[in-house]
Symmetry: C2
Subunit: 186 residues, 2 copies
């Protein structure tokens, strides 16, 4: 991942990617999730629960993280400012399918390519782990239209629509992207 | 649920339903899952992990169980023999959608209506909790054809198919059934 450890994003933002989740990240993730004014409190709680699961159980949690700070954060140093993060992991009982559970960019830093950078970073890690497909679920509500377009621009295909999944009138859309070989050895 | 606590199933099997998961159930669930010769070891491990999650964390785990024994098992008494079980729970970030994660019937007791009885019991509990929809995911592989037909006989509709989800050539089928009102107050 060419951007790992880079100090310069596509639009001149300084940032640094890391994978090691730290205790202070729960508060930082809650901060940027709340700042979006996009997620319900129970949704933010779920995002934070995945952070605690990973902190408590490590890789056995099944949750992996990629985090973008505004500066490198060496172990043991005071934390840099979190700008964005993604949480993903292998789907149980599958061979090579991954879910991208969360991707949130601090609204003060949106529109500068950080979301795309995180998606690329997740796909690279999935590919490195011999993963084949990445799935993203999102809502059909109009306020998610920019989200849907973003996933489509990143190469995700709408594979399924489950009517009234989230609540009446709010369908689940399932996007998927093939990031690795369709079958072993291909 | 008329069958709860009954001593007589549709084909003359004695059984009793209960919801309180007990420590000995993990071994019993592993026994009937292995006996089916249907699930891979890693799949059985996942089924058992949900049992431990529920035992460790209680209702906060998000996993509910309905279990069928061959006789009533009063608290504190030696366990009866487990014949079948279902594991289900509310889906995070939804209003009223539930997943039926597992339903397994001891092969020595299949074909006697226990599966249907458990599905009915799950749906009744979802309805009682103001749930709207129950989702079941299964594989498209030919050996799952009887499973698919069973869900269809129980009133489940195939709502989505995700190609190559489980592994190349093994799609995920998503079945759903509306068990409660489509919207509050309806």
């Amino acid at each position: 991942m060419s951007a790992t450890g880079s100090k310069s994003g596509g639009a001149g933002i300084g940032f640094a990617l890391r994978e090691d989740l730290r205790a202070h990240d729960e508060a930082a993730i809650r901060r940027i999730a709340d700042a979006t004014a996009f997620f319900r409190p129970d949704e933010v709680d779920v995002a934070c629960e995945l952070v605690r699961e990973r902190l408590d159980r490590g890789p056995a949690s099944g949750y992996e993280f990629v985090l973008a700070d505004d500066a490198p954060a060496p172990p043991g140093q005071p934390p840099a400012r979190l700008l964005a993060y993604a949480c993903f992991g292998p789907i149980a009982c599958t061979v090579g399918s991954y879910d991208l559970y969360w991707i949130i960019v601090d609204p003060a830093y949106q529109g500068r390519g950080l979301g795309r950078l995180l998606i690329d970073a997740v796909e690279q890690r999935v590919r490195a782990a011999a993963g084949r497909k990445v799935y993203i679920e999102t809502s059909s509500l109009p306020r998610y239209t920019p989200t849907q377009r973003f996933y489509e621009r990143c190469g995700y295909i709408l594979e399924a629509r489950l009517p009234d999944f989230y609540q009446p009138g709010d369908d689940k859309l399932v996007y998927a992207k093939t990031v690795g070989p369709a079958s072993p050895g291909q």
